[in-house]
């Protein structure tokens, strides 16, 4: 499963560590939410990048105290029809101001890419090789967007407001 990070196929630096396995002395690790919350202070103080896999049925507000010390949050799409992680992503980015890597995992398919990027994901654990190569095409299909999100695009209403003010002045 290729990882697409900031638009490029990239190596995954993070090592997933099972709850009962010992953490390596150094290097980026990815741990479960249960493990993180059992001993968060010690884990975020570790001297290497820390990532957490956050389940889609748990409130992301619980992560608030640790957000500036997490390097990666991996959200989960058990199937792509289960869209809960879309809301989690927007809250993490737009409401709580999380700036680390936000990764989509699970059934991540090409036809979701635009939505995922708009919602703040900057890394996609893509299910199919061909989809990963189609990333650019899939995320450049649309040139206009109705909704304002945290992705930097101005929404249709914002553009029209500008147009309205320009024509009035």
């Amino acid at each position: 499963m290729p990882l697409v990070k900031n638009g490029q196929i990239a190596a995954d630096d993070f090592v997933a560590v099972a709850d009962d396995a010992e953490l390596p002395a150094a290097g980026p690790v990815l741990i479960s939410a249960t493990r993180l919350l059992a001993d968060p202070e010690r884990l975020v103080a570790r001297n290497s990048p820390l990532g957490v896999v956050w389940p889609n049925n748990r409130d992301v507000a619980e992560l608030k105290p640790w957000l500036d010390r997490l390097a990666l949050i991996a959200l989960v799409f058990p199937t792509y029809k289960d869209g809960r992680a879309h809301s989690q992503a927007r809250r993490l980015r737009e409401v709580y101001g999380y700036r680390g890597e936000l990764r989509a995992t699970g059934q991540v398919l090409r036809d979701q890419f635009t939505f995922l990027v708009r919602n703040g994901f900057d890394a996609l654990d893509v299910k199919k090789e061909a989809d990963a190569h189609a990333f650019r095409e899939a995320t450049h299909r649309y040139t206009e967007f109705y909704q304002p999100t945290g992705d930097g695009h101005r929404s249709a209403l914002q553009l029209r407001r500008q147009r309205h003010l320009t024509s009035a002045s």
Partner: protein, 551 residues
């Protein structure tokens, strides 16, 4: 009518290109049917019993004559020469080939029509009062807000994979013609004591297996805040709506399980995170949308023109005028409903020839504008009263002047087992038989307002729960049976109908309905006591007795 700007046009064309690519990948095997299914559904493509069915959105029920001609063209070119208008201001084509769909969509996009989110577990076509902007006594034209909602919910990045489908309806009148109380979110435009325009927001209405009437979640949300408030409702639903059981996944179940107070508190919490953010509308934004609605240049015309007085001697014209013509907010004009319920016809169907002819009549008599209502009829919204006799003559020739609007043969029905793979029983032949039995206009007029709604299965596309008489097809030992409810209504006093007794077989349905209507005629206190009011006063017992005494 709302005229697309370059942003709207870009999005609709880009959506067609995306869908064309998805169909290509399905046809060459890159996508499995499982992967493709949600993608095609989000563009209104179902797999039915015999073929693909294609559902096209008619947002808030407004069409231009050019758009209606294009729908006729699609019916003729890609389908079998007709279309079916649904209860949610969509049109369905029943025989379209998958490989042709991208071309049909591209043609529709040329006139600003799309099929975005007419199906699937996402926010669906936004519907409104079909008389919006022309009915007397509205707060303001709700279509401006419906268009803002249409845009906001189109290709929404966060809410395209909800637990289940999600429907909005909006009205600006005290008399609710948009059935807002049976929608996931119902919006009623209101004005507060300070004179500000806003919305009463209802949530959790819906029919199907577990019917609920919507509850008011907030009695006043300012217009400027409506998008952020709705975003909060959808965010709570997306996170907490049930995904373990398709029959418990609608927002109505979440609202019911949490209770409206707890649900409202969750929404307030979610809203507090995003209120006053980029979703807040300002006057320039609203004004930009409003300015793209084109309104007719009405003339100053007499309320009682000579042409009407001259035609008053024609009993057939007068019967039609009394039934199908409603008051307009502008003096000298009228709202005309075109019945798509001829005796013996399938409710809501129109041929390509009829659509073309209606488009021509709209150009001639209604400033090029047509509306589609949830009762599956068409409307010409701006007809000068002096033109009514000429319009009637033209409609009569087309078979579109049946004077049965709102009467017993103006039946709402889903496609049922004739087309639908979900159905347990047929709907259309039941409707056809009933419309033949009550074909006499004098009898129908004597009975008065009476809505019959027929669904071929518990999914309730024919809204049987809220029919004055509801007919629900069920299957018993491989045979079609029908449960009958009475006393339902879909308007501002929305109520669910009550079952009158055991289901009856296919062959007896029309007789049972005739018995119920006869019981009503003998039981009503006055000729103007409506069926649904008589049921309210008497309960189901006397009707039940009449139906089952001899069965």
């Amino acid at each position: 009518m709302y005229a697309y700007d370059e942003i709207d046009r870009a999005i609709v064309h880009e959506r067609v290109d995306e869908f064309r690519d998805q169909v290509r990948r399905r046809l060459n095997g890159e996508l499995t049917e499982d992967e493709f299914k949600p993608l095609r559904l989000m563009n209104g493509v179902y797999l039915q019993l015999h073929a693909y069915m294609f559902r096209v959105a008619i947002p808030y029920g407004t069409l231009s004559s050019e758009q209606l001609r294009k729908l006729a063209h699609v019916a003729r070119t890609y389908d079998r020469g007709y279309g079916h208008f649904t209860t949610r201001q969509n049109i369905q084509f029943n025989w379209i080939a998958l490989a042709d769909l991208p071309d049909a969509l591209a043609e529709l996009a040329e006139v600003g029509i799309h099929a975005m989110q007419t199906s699937g577990n996402c926010t669906r076509n936004v519907t409104a009062d079909q008389w919006a902007g022309v009915a007397p006594g509205e707060i303001e034209d709700p279509r401006v807000w419906a268009e803002i909602l249409r845009q906001h919910t189109a290709l929404h990045p966060e809410f395209s994979f909800l637990p289940r489908k999600f429907k909005f309806a909006i009205t600006a009148s005290d008399h609710d013609r948009a059935a807002i109380k049976i929608h996931d979110i119902g919006l009623k435009l209101v004005r507060n004591d300070a004179g500000e325009t806003g919305f009463e927001v209802l949530v959790g209405g819906g029919l199907g297996r577990s019917p609920f009437i919507g509850r008011t979640i907030k009695s006043f949300v300012k217009g400027h805040d409506i998008l952020s408030y709705i975003e909060a409702i959808l965010r709570v639903y997306n996170q907490y709506g049930r995904r373990d059981n398709i029959y418990k996944a609608r927002i109505k179940i979440l609202v019911h399980e949490l209770g409206i107070e707890k649900f409202a508190a969750e929404v307030e919490q979610a809203w507090s995170e995003i209120a006053d953010g980029p979703l807040t509308l300002d006057d320039e934004m609203i004004e930009d949308i409003r300015s793209r609605f084109i309104y007719p240049a009405y003339e100053k015309l007499p309320a009682e023109p000579d042409e009407l007085r001259a035609a008053a001697g024609d009993a057939r014209f007068e019967a039609w005028r009394g039934n199908s013509v409603a008051p307009h907010r502008q003096d000298g004009y009228a709202i005309v409903t075109l019945s798509l319920k001829p005796a013996g016809g399938p409710p809501g169907d129109a041929t390509a020839e009829q659509m073309d002819a209606v488009a021509d009549l709209a150009d001639k008599y209604s400033f090029g504008e047509i509306r589609v209502g949830h009762e599956q009829n068409l409307v010409l919204p701006h007809v000068a009263k002096r033109d009514l006799p000429a319009l009637w003559a033209a409609l009569d020739k087309l078979g579109l002047a049946t004077p049965n609007v709102g009467l017993v043969s103006d039946i709402i029905a889903c496609p049922g087992l004739d087309y639908c793979s979900l159905a347990n029983a047929r709907s259309i032949p039941i409707a056809q038989e009933l419309s033949r039995r009550f074909a006499n206009p004098e009898t129908a007029a004597l009975i008065g307002r009476l809505h019959i709604n027929i669904s071929g299965c518990i999914n309730a596309c024919g809204h049987h729960h809220v029919g004055h008489i509801g007919i629900l097809g069920v299957e018993k030992n491989g045979e079609e049976f029908y449960q009958i409810t009475i006393g339902g209504r879909a308007d501002e006093g929305a109520e669910l109908g009550v079952l009158i007794g055991p289901a009856v077989p296919y062959g007896e349905v029309a007789d049972v309905i005739e018995d119920i209507v006869e019981a009503y005629l003998s039981l009503r206190q006055r000729p103007d006591e409506l069926f649904v009011d008589a049921v309210k006063r008497l309960g189901v017992e006397p009707f039940k007795e009449r139906v089952y005494a001899t069965r």
